[in-house]
C-alpha cells in the first residue's frame, strides 16, 4: 500500500469500524459476556458429572466400585446389581464390530485415497458419509426386519458346521451378540473410514513417490510407505470407532435379545450397559437403588469411552512424536467432514 495515500473510501471504512467512544465500553463488556458464557457452560458440564456421580452413589456405596463394575449378577428382583454381564456384552458386541468393521473401513479408506480415479473420490466419500446420516433407530428397524431373518439360516449353518470352535454353536433364535456386533460395525464404518482417510492423506507425497520410484507396485507402496506411516492415526481411528460402538443404545437393544446373563456362544442373546438403561429406566423411577445402579451403569459406560479416547490420543501423540510431527491443532475427535462431526452415534 502507498503510505499516506488513503482514499476517502478507506477513511470511511476506518471511521465505521472505529465507531464512537461507546465502542470502548462495549469491548470489555463483550469480552466479559463471552467469558461468563464459557464459565457458565463449564459449570453446567461439571454439575452434570457431579450430579450423576451423586445420584449413582447409593449403588456404588452398597456394592463398592469394584463390586458394582465386576459384580457377576444383575438381578432386579433381588436388588442385586452387578454390571459384569452387561460390560461383557458391551465388550463382545464392540469387539465383533471392530473385527468386521475396521478391515472394511480401512480398505475403503485406502481405496478412496490411493487407488480410485479422482472423479470418483468425492461421490464415494459422500456415500460413505451417508451411512452416518441414518439414525440409530432406523438401523434397529432394519436390523429386526431385514438382517435378522435374512441371516438366521446362514448363522445356523455356521453354528452347526463350526461348532467345534469355541463360542460357536447352539441354536440361533434371532437377536444375538453377532447381529448386534454386525449392526455396530455398519454404524462405525463412516467414522473409522473418515478418520483413516484423513490420516492416510497426510502421508507425505515424497514417501509414496519414493517407494514408487524404487520400483514398488501400488500395493507395495501402500504396504511399505502408507500403512507404517499412518499406523498411529489408524489406531486412533479404531479407538474412536470403538468408543462409539460402546455407547450405542437403541439399535443394539432391538437386536441383542436383552438376556441378563453372559451368553456362551456368539449367537446367544446378551445385554449391554446402554441397553439395560433404556429397558429399565421406567421402572426405576421411584427405586433409589435401582436408578442409582442404572446411573452407575451409565457412568461405567462413560468412563469406558473416556478411557478409550485417552488411549487413542496417547497412541496418536506417541506415534506422531516418533516421527517428529507436531501435535495436530485440531483434536482427533472432530473431523470436519459431513455428518460425522464428533459425538457418539445417534441414539
Amino acid at each position: 500500500m502507498e503510505a499516506g495515500a488513503l482514499t476517502t473510501r478507506d477513511d470511511l471504512a476506518a471511521a465505521r469500524l472505529a465507531g464512537s467512544s461507546r465502542g470502548r465500553l462495549a469491548d470489555p463488556a463483550f469480552k466479559w459476556f463471552l467469558t461468563i458464557l464459557a464459565v457458565l457452560i463449564l459449570a453446567i458440564i461439571v454439575f452434570f458429572f457431579v450430579f450423576l456421580i451423586n445420584k449413582a452413589s447409593p449403588a456404588i456405596s452398597k456394592f463398592g466400585l469394584f463390586g458394582f463394575t465386576f459384580g457377576a449378577e444383575w438381578n432386579v428382583s433381588k436388588s442385586v446389581y452387578g454390571a459384569w454381564p452387561l460390560l461383557v456384552g458391551t465388550l463382545i458386541t464392540s469387539a465383533v464390530a471392530l473385527v468386521i468393521g475396521v478391515p472394511i473401513a480401512l480398505g475403503a479408506a485406502l481405496y478412496i485415497t490411493e487407488l480410485c480415479p479422482a472423479r470418483l473420490r468425492a461421490p464415494l466419500t459422500m456415500l460413505l458419509e451417508l451411512l452416518a446420516a441414518v439414525p440409530s433407530v432406523v438401523y434397529g428397524l432394519w436390523g429386526v426386519f431385514f438382517l435378522i431373518p435374512k441371516l438366521r439360516p446362514a448363522e445356523q449353518w455356521f453354528a452347526d458346521t463350526f461348532s467345534f470352535l469355541p463360542f460357536v454353536g447352539g441354536s440361533v433364535a434371532g437377536p444375538n451378540y453377532f447381529i448386534a456386533g454386525l449392526i455396530l460395525a455398519i454404524m462405525i464404518l463412516p467414522i473409522v473410514s473418515a478418520i483413516s482417510r484423513e490420516v492416510i492423506s497426510t502421508v507425505p507425497a515424497e514417501l509414496k513417490e519414493g517407494a514408487l520410484a524404487l520400483g514398488a507396485t501400488r500395493w507395495e507402496m501402500i504396504r511399505l510407505a502408507v500403512l507404517p506411516y499412518s499406523r498411529a492415526g489408524i489406531a486412533g481411528a479404531i479407538m474412536l470407532g470403538l468408543g462409539r460402538a460402546v455407547g450405542e443404545t437403541i439399535a443394539v437393544t432391538l437386536v441383542i435379545g436383552n438376556a441378563p446373563q453372559i451368553g456362551k456362544q456368539i449367537f446367544d442373546q446378551g445385554y449391554t450397559l446402554a441397553a439395560v438403561i433404556a429397558n429399565e429406566f421406567g421402572e426405576a423411577a421411584n427405586n433409589k437403588l435401582h436408578s442409582a445402579a442404572l446411573i452407575a451403569a451409565g457412568l461405567v459406560l462413560f468412563v469406558l469411552t473416556l478411557l478409550i479416547n485417552a488411549i487413542a490420543r496417547y497412541i496418536v501423540v506417541r506415534g506422531n512424536r516418533m516421527r517428529d510431527i507436531p501435535p495436530p491443532e485440531e483434536e482427533l475427535t472432530m473431523p470436519t467432514t459431513g455428518p460425522l462431526i464428533g459425538g457418539p452415534v445417534m441414539q
Binding site: A14, L17, G19, A26, D27, F30, K31, L34, L37, A38, I41, I45, F48, L52, A105, G107, A108, L110, I112, L115, C116, L127, L128, L130, L131, A133, V134, P135, V138, G140, L141, W142, V144, F145, L214, T217, W219, E220, G243, G247, T249, I250, L254, I277, A278, G298, L299, L301, F302, T305, T333, T336, G338, P339, I341, G342, G343, P344, M346, Q347
Partner: protein
C-alpha cells in the same frame, strides 16, 4: 545400469504384479462391501416406507387404536420439528459463543484449555446418559410443574448437540485468517466489532454448515427423548407437556407385532431419513457456495 540405486527393488516379477492386482481387487471389493449396507437400508426404506406414505399419513395423528386404523404420524413430525427447533435455538448461540470465547479471547490459556477439555469430554457421553440426567434432574422432581415435558426433551438434545456445535464452530473460526482480524484492528476497530463485523460474517457459511449438521444429528436421536418428552398420540404445541417425536414413534412401533404398525414405522423412518438428508444437502450446498465466493 549405474544410475539405479543399490537398494532399488528388483524389476517387478509376475508374482508381485499378481499380488498387486489381487490386492487392488480386494480393496475395491471391500469398498463396495462398505456401501452394500447403505444400499440395502435405502432400498428397504423405500420399498417398505413408500407403501405407508399417503396424504393421510402425514395429516393424521397416531390413533393408538389396537384394532382398526392406526393413524399417521402428524404429531411425530410436528413434535420433532418443534423440539429440535428449540434445542437448536438454545445450543447454537451458546455453542458459537463458547467457540468465540475460545478462539478470540481464551486461545491457549489454561482456562480455555479446561473449557475445551470438558467440552470434549462431553462428546464422549453416550446419548442415553443425557436423557438419564435430564430425567433424574428434571422429570422425576416434576420441575416446572410437569413430569414428562417437551422442553426437557429439547434440553437433553441441546446438551447432546452442544459439544458438536462448539467444536465445529471453533474449527471454522480458527480458519478465518488472522490477517483479516489484524487488518480490521489496524483500521481502529474495537475487538468486539472485529468479531461481530469481520470474523462472524466470514465464518458464517461454515457456522451454518456445522449447525445444520448438528441439527441433523439431534433430529435422529431417540434415547434422550424416551425419558424426557415421552410419547403421546395427539398433536400438541405445548412445550410443558409430553410431545411425540419421529424417533420415539419409530421406536414404539418397531416392537409391535401388527403389520400395519410396523408399516407405519417404516413410513416414519423414511420421513425421518429424508428430513435428515435434506438438512445434510442444504449444509453441503451452503459450504460449497461459500467456497466458490
Amino acid at each position: 545400469m549405474s544410475d539405479v540405486p543399490a537398494n532399488a527393488l528388483a524389476p517387478i516379477s509376475a508374482r508381485r504384479r499378481h499380488t498387486d492386482q489381487v490386492m487392488r481387487a480386494v480393496l475395491l471389493i471391500v469398498t463396495l462391501l462398505a456401501l452394500v449396507p447403505l444400499v440395502l437400508v435405502i432400498l428397504r426404506l423405500l420399498t417398505s416406507g413408500l407403501k405407508a406414505i399417503s396424504w393421510d399419513f402425514f395429516t393424521t395423528d397416531p390413533s393408538g387404536n389396537f384394532l382398526g386404523n392406526p393413524g399417521g404420524i402428524k404429531s411425530a413430525i410436528l413434535g420433532t420439528i418443534e423440539m429440535i427447533a428449540v434445542a437448536a435455538l438454545i445450543t447454537i448461540p451458546i455453542g458459537i459463543g463458547v467457540a468465540l470465547y475460545l478462539v478470540e479471547y481464551g486461545k491457549q490459556g489454561r482456562f480455555a484449555a479446561t473449557v475445551r477439555y470438558f467440552v470434549d469430554v462431553l462428546t464422549g457421553v453416550p446419548s442415553i446418559v443425557f436423557g438419564l440426567f435430564v430425567y433424574v434432574a428434571l422429570v422425576v422432581g416434576n420441575v416446572g410443574g410437569s413430569g414428562f415435558a417437551a422442553w426437557k426433551g429439547a434440553l437433553a438434545i441441546a446438551l447432546l448437540m452442544l459439544p458438536i456445535v462448539t467444536r465445529s464452530a471453533e474449527v471454522v473460526l480458527l480458519l478465518v485468517p488472522d490477517g483479516l482480524r489484524e487488518a480490521a484492528l489496524a483500521l481502529g476497530a474495537p475487538r468486539w466489532k472485529v468479531v461481530t463485523r469481520v470474523v462472524l460474517p466470514t465464518a458464517a457459511p461454515g457456522l451454518v454448515t456445522g449447525s445444520l449438521l448438528a441439527i441433523a444429528r439431534g433430529a435422529g436421536e431417540t434415547a434422550p427423548l424416551l425419558f424426557t418428552a415421552a410419547i403421546v398420540q395427539g398433536t400438541s404445541f405445548n412445550l410443558n407437556a409430553r410431545m411425540n417425536s419421529l424417533p420415539a414413534q419409530i421406536f414404539a412401533d418397531v416392537g409391535q407385532a401388527q403389520d400395519r404398525l410396523v408399516a407405519r414405522a417404516w413410513g416414519a423412518a423414511l420421513t425421518l431419513v429424508t428430513m435428515i438428508l435434506i438438512l445434510n444437502i442444504v449444509a453441503r450446498l451452503v459450504a460449497r457456495r461459500s467456497r466458490s465466493t
